[in-house]
Symmetry: C2
Amino acid sequence: MYRIGELAQLCEVKTDTLRFYEKHGLLSPSSRTDSGYRIYTENDAERLRFILRAKAVGFTLAEITELLSIELDKSNWACADVKGLVDDKLANVEAKIAELNHFQLSLQRLSQACCGGPESAEHCSILEALESSTDNIRCENHSHTHDDVQFTKNCQNKAVSKNSKEK
Amino acid sequence: MYRIGELAQLCEVKTDTLRFYEKHGLLSPSSRTDSGYRIYTENDAERLRFILRAKAVGFTLAEITELLSIELDKSNWACADVKGLVDDKLANVEAKIAELNHFQLSLQRLSQACCGGPESAEHCSILEALESSTDNIRCENHSHTHDDVQFTKNCQNKAVSKNSKEK
DNA sequence: CTTGACCTTGGATACAACTCCAAGGTTTAT
DNA sequence: ATAAACCTTGGAGTTGTATCCAAGGTCAAG
Ligand SMILES: [Zn+2]
Ligand SMILES: [Zn+2]
Ligand SMILES: [Zn+2]
Ligand SMILES: [Zn+2]
């Protein structure tokens, strides 16, 4: 049994957030004291943890509400319904992962094309990529001195072609 | 030279969005007609494309503002600065992916524990998991008839232990 | 000269998900 | 018995990213 502040501290959220969740039907305390203080059970805490995990990975509160609301009305749902909902969310998550993977790839390509060195960004390949097409990223080729291995470690093509020591 | 509607159509955004970007300092038309119409140059169009590309790889407008300020003033920035922004964003995206993968796993476990059949969800293992700990998911065991292979295909443990035909 | 498509502005609205505030009631420790 | 720390409510404010609206100005065609 927790009071609102205890549960908040336990789960590292603000009391306001718990009241907000209550107002929006995600999590209500199992009871109240005579004086009106909210009393949360361990069960409530578990439910909160689920909400927080779902939230942490990008589920909206609306989606979480949908997922949790079935519980109110179990007998009017079939396993197929419940599983369907979960599978919808799963597809949702997988779509988000795919989208982020796309971002990741784009960012990795941008990152890898830039030497990350201390010289002027005038020829920075990241900026050049953003200036033109992102599909067409070239390893940058500074006009200034740029042979130092320290600054070409991320720039394989250039490192190989310019200071061909290895070969 | 484009009027706002032309540029909007060209880049597939709304005129409101262009005015919004202007208000927030991301993109201002190079000039105005005598009557006050915004006039965008090809240069402005390029800048807009820069913004849209950066958005497409996951940067927020605030981050794009930062990128644009570097763009305008390249020579006072180093590759390291630019790459730093990209790498921060990359770390950010990767953290989000990791979280999503975690939740994907949870959802997959939920999904797999449920038979997905047409009978009441009263004993649905998904709901049971939501009610208590999600770490402790058991394959559901309906009290009603549930031997049909059709409804147990996703429920390996039960399928094996209950109707032990295979073995 | 009228019509319709386009443009202007400032301000309103939307949505998510909080976050803070004011004014007051309750508990607990000393 | 009083202060500190907690709790209550309703409502307002915040951030990001737009999107919409009203009232009116501009422009080209017929
Ligand atoms: Zn460089
Ligand atoms: Zn660079
Ligand atoms: Zn079932
Ligand atoms: Zn089930």
